[in-house]
């Protein structure tokens, strides 16, 4: 039974290993020279950030698609990313460009968004998935326009803010941010494992909340838990990398094509595939154009054609 999924696992793990090797070996700094060890430190941190960010975005995307019973959901559907962008932009506008301010501001923005969306979606003590989507989409619009307002008010940091919102793995690591990133990495692993432990409930929820309830699933608890874990993880990742689009949307679909829709395979598969694909996109983003491209441009250029193919082949 399990053996038929072995080739899929081999492909995903090879993808991640190859992407990691490329990510470390290729870069504007070359692979030789006196400064190699300093360059390697940077690249290894970049590799770790890529694995965590790609893995988390894909796992959260897969979990939310299951929870919302909607194959078009992604990690940013619930508005957390735009909240993080707003928090980070505010710190930039206020002139706090250095050190840990942007990540902390981004994470705070994400958490505030999570609380607002949760409060809006709560009606008579119940949180419905429809309520979460509606509240999340509305808040996304509000915060995106506030980000633009912040950008106009603080013209000098415009370029930085754009780069921030479009996603990158070039986080500047200082003493403090390395520790912060370590905390994010631990948080990510714990959060993804927690989501994984809810695999069967997510499977059942994808046939509707009421049906799941009659099958003994506490849909309220699953909804609230998945929402909070997803928001915290995405907020934490996005505050380091900005909003990297498409990985969280496309990777789960890719993994379902390999493994079928069951979350106990889709979630770990998405972590590995998301990490690999994000690292490959990053290799392209920083080596094809001098000076580097924002990551979302590459993920979208690769992701959109694939997604169109996916939609056409399913309709």
């Amino acid at each position: 039974m399990q053996r038929r999924f072995l080739p899929g696992w081999v492909v995903l793990i090879l993808l991640l290993v190859a992407a990691s090797a490329l990510s470390v070996a290729v870069g504007p700094g070359g692979f030789t020279g006196a400064k190699l060890s300093a360059v390697m430190d940077l690249r290894l941190l970049r590799l770790a950030l890529g694995i965590i960010a790609g893995g988390v975005l894909a796992v959260v995307g897969a979990s939310l698609q299951g929870l919302l019973q909607n194959p078009l959901a992604d990690p940013f559907t619930m508005g957390v990313a735009s909240g993080a962008a707003l928090g980070a932009s505010l710190t930039l506008v206020l002139g706090r460009t250095a050190g840990a301010f942007a990540p902390v501001g981004g994470f705070a923005g994400a958490l505030v968004t999570m609380l607002v969306v949760y409060a809006l979606a709560r009606v008579r003590g119940r949180v419905t998935v429809t309520g979460l989507v509606l509240a999340g989409v509305i808040m996304s619009f509000l915060f995106s326009s506030l980000v633009m307002l912040a950008m106009i008010l603080g013209r000098r940091t415009l370029g930085e803010a754009v780069y921030m919102m479009m996603g990158h793995l070039g986080a500047v690591f200082t003493g403090t941010t390395v520790w912060l990133f370590g905390a994010v990495a631990v948080l990510s692993v714990v959060g993804c494992a927690w989501l994984f432990s809810m695999s069967r409930s997510l499977d059942i929820m994808s046939s509707g909340e009421e049906a799941a309830e009659t099958l003994g699933v506490d849909t309220q608890r699953v909804t609230k838990t998945v929402f909070v874990i997803s928001s915290v993880l995405v907020g934490a990742v996005v505050s380091f990398t900005g909003a990297i689009s498409f990985v969280g949307l496309v990777v789960p679909h890719l993994v379902r094509m390999l493994f079928g829709p069951e979350h106990r395979r889709v979630l770990p598969g998405s972590f590995v595939a998301g990490a690999g694909i994000l690292l490959l996109s990053d290799v392209l983003a920083r080596n094809v154009v001098p000076g580097g491209l924002p990551l979302s441009i590459v993920t979208a250029l690769v992701g959109v054609p694939f997604f169109i193919y996916l939609l056409r082949s399913r309709l």
Partner: protein, 282 residues
């Protein structure tokens, strides 16, 4: 002991109560049909009994135990529910879907064991759908899907089954198949509650019929005393023709050609049909 016992039940979606002081007893081993016009409260009643809605007042007892004291997993082991709509956002295999019925027996980190797989096979066999086990749920017909969803409820190994419009999208062969499966389950001792718009199906197979109208139990008795011209007229506002089933003698309902006061269509041949030779060739 009663399988389901509702007493003094009150419930409304807004300030206006749909059910008020509602009582119902369903004996263990009964095959109860629930009929009534759209909006009569059939599905609401099912949702209340299944614990999907909370009553404002009154008590719901399942196999003698108060609903409020039962956890949802315990309810799921006692009561299998087939809802009207069963969308699947992702394309699970049929056996994955039926295995979901084992959820109330499995711990959070527990994988399905031998008994769970046997229960899935037995449930699929019972509804004559074992051959579908490796098919994708969104790639089978509506009749097959209804059997699979019923098998999922059977995999819960419940003493009570409740079905909301289990036959409404199905052709007559599948309607008969589902009805026969339900009768057979009932003979094996399961309590079955069947919500249906199909008066004839309910009259033919149910031992007792509850006729609901705007949250009130208009009648709850053997089919002969519920499916009568008077009751059907007063609840549905149609002028029915009630006859007897030639084999079982159960009441069967037909609609007249036209309601009183409306123009009668006398002969089909008088209706001009587009595409007939006459209309093409004047």
């Amino acid at each position: 002991m009663n399988a389901i016992e509702l007493s003094g039940l009150a419930f409304g979606y807004d300030e206006r109560l749909l059910f008020e002081g509602f009582n119902l007893e369903v004996a263990a081993g009964e095959l109860l049909g629930v009929i009534g016009p759209n909006g009569a409260g059939k599905s609401t009643l099912l949702r209340l009994v299944a614990g999907l809605l909370r009553p404002a007042r009154g008590s719901i007892r399942i196999l003698g135990r108060d609903m409020g004291a039962l956890g949802r997993r315990e309810v799921a082991r006692t009561l299998g529910v087939v809802l009207q709509e069963n969308p699947f956002a992702f394309d699970y295999t049929v056996s994955d879907v039926v295995m979901m019925g084992r959820n109330p027996y499995l711990g959070r980190f527990q994988s399905p064991g031998k008994h769970d797989r046997e229960a899935v096979t037995a449930a699929l066999e019972f509804v004559d759908a074992l051959f579908l086990r490796d098919k994708r749920i969104n790639a089978i017909s509506a009749g097959e899907r209804q059997r699979v969803v019923l098998a999922r409820a059977l995999a819960q190994e419940p003493g009570i089954l409740m079905l909301d419009e289990a036959t409404s999208h199905l052709d007559i062969a599948h309607q008969q198949l589902i009805a026969r499966i339900l009768v057979q389950l009932n003979r094996q001792g399961k309590t079955v509650v069947l919500l249906s718009h199909d008066l004839n199906l309910a009259a033919l197979y149910c031992s007792r019929i509850l006729l609901l109208d705007r949250g009130k139990a208009v009648a709850c008795d053997v089919p002969e005393r519920v499916i009568t011209a008077e009751l059907i007229r007063s609840v549905y506002g149609v002028e029915p023709i009630v006859t007897r089933h030639p084999e079982s003698g159960r009441p069967q309902v037909m609609l007249p050609v036209a309601a009183p006061g409306q123009p009668q269509i006398t002969q089909m041949s008088q209706i001009p049909l587009a595409g007939t030779p006459e209309s093409q060739n004047p």
